[in-house]
């Protein structure tokens, strides 16, 4: 009898471990700090996650885009330049699928920072957008000074560098998913179609997270 009860307990424990615990969520990336606060006279420990600081860039329509422009929006960021002969075409061929999937959603944006602001002026970015067949405000191509762009890249944990001896810019092809609280929620290799399928699925998961649904 005792043996039977023991077996039952084990089975129940195993079964409950298998139950899905609530809706799926994405991890929060980047540095985090515990902050001790006093709420209603009680001491509680809260976690503060690293977020994308405010910025100011200009998009392909010559509109000023700041952190505020992305309030209440989930967005994907990447770094590119229009004359890039290596990984950019494949990155943006893939990004185009993300664009098509979410272009009807006004609470979603894609921002692509040029790392070659000298050549990629606003009219050059507009022409690139036209040729890519992107219109409206879903996908912004952002122009800023080299310092500002390289500085913001660090916040996305993306590496961009000055030209190498062959005269090529070095940058990695990552797409970064950012939530409405401006926290990093995922990084994806923009050159890999399988990672883009995951990115699209993750954006849908993120949009459904309770914190994201209520965030303005």
């Amino acid at each position: 009898m005792r043996k039977l009860i023991g077996t039952l307990v084990i089975i129940i424990t195993l079964y409950s471990a298998c139950k899905p615990n609530g809706p799926a969520t994405l991890p929060i990336l980047g540095n985090r700090q515990p902050v001790i606060k006093t709420v209603n006279g009680k001491t509680v420990t809260d976690t503060v996650y690293s977020t994308i600081p405010d910025f100011k860039f200009v998009n392909q329509y010559a509109d000023t885009i700041t952190g505020k422009s992305l309030n209440g929006k989930i967005y994907v960021a990447d770094f590119f330049f229009t004359t890039c002969p290596s990984i950019c075409p494949v990155m943006h061929r893939n990004m185009l699928n993300v664009y098509k999937e979410f272009k009807a959603d006004d609470n979603f944006r894609i921002i692509s920072h040029t790392i070659d602001p000298k050549y990629d002026t606003v009219p050059v970015l507009k022409k690139y957008a036209d040729k890519m067949g992107i219109s409206g405000n879903t996908w912004w191509l952002l122009h800023g000074t080299k310092d500002e762009t390289y500085q913001i890249a660090k916040n996305y944990l993306v590496s961009v560098q000055e030209k190498n001896p062959q005269g090529e810019y070095i940058h990695d092809g990552y797409f970064i998913l950012v939530d409405k609280q401006k926290r990093l929620r995922g990084t994806y290799d923009g050159t890999d179609p399988a990672e883009i399928t995951k990115l699209i699925a993750d954006i849908k998961t993120l949009k459904a997270e309770p914190d994201e649904v209520v965030a303005k």
């Binding site: 002969p85 943006h92 040729k131 890519m132 067949g133």
Partner: protein
């Protein structure tokens, strides 16, 4: 013993039939398979896995008429890059294709691959042809 004999006769027949491929076919296969590897490394990022190009930015490689008309210039496009306005499949493109560092043999292989993939069927582009074409680059 008897079945072993029959199997060896069968194998011999298969080997004979396989070796019946013409020299041209062997040459084509050699260029084409080498070209597919080179395409992946040097061309696919821009022109795409299926030669589809990228929107209005990068032309597709599916316009057989254009490839046929400019067949003798294709090696030069690889060697010197391609700049200025071109019309492909009825659409205008004006970007710039960078210079490639392919050897003449590699050019022959990749051109054989491109002109016989994506719906194109132009036959082999061999090393001799590429060398002749390169002489005439402007």
């Amino acid at each position: 013993m008897r079945s072993g004999f029959i199997i060896s006769i069968g194998l011999l027949l298969v080997a004979l039939i396989a070796s019946c491929q013409s020299d041209e076919q062997v040459e084509f296969n050699r260029y084409y398979s080498g070209g597919s590897v080179l395409y992946l490394a040097h061309c696919q990022n821009c022109h795409g896995e299926k030669g589809e190009g990228l929107q209005a930015l990068i032309p597709p490689l599916t316009d057989s008429t254009y490839l046929k008309k400019n067949k003798a210039s294709l090696a030069c496009y690889l060697k010197n890059g391609l700049k200025g306005q071109i019309t492909i499949a009825g659409r205008t493109f004006e970007g710039e294709m960078p210079v490639s560092d392919l050897s003449p043999l590699e050019m022959a292989k990749v051109l054989t691959y491109v002109t016989n993939s994506f719906g194109n069927k132009a036959g082999v582009v061999n090393l001799q042809q590429v060398q002749v074409d390169l002489q005439k680059c402007r």
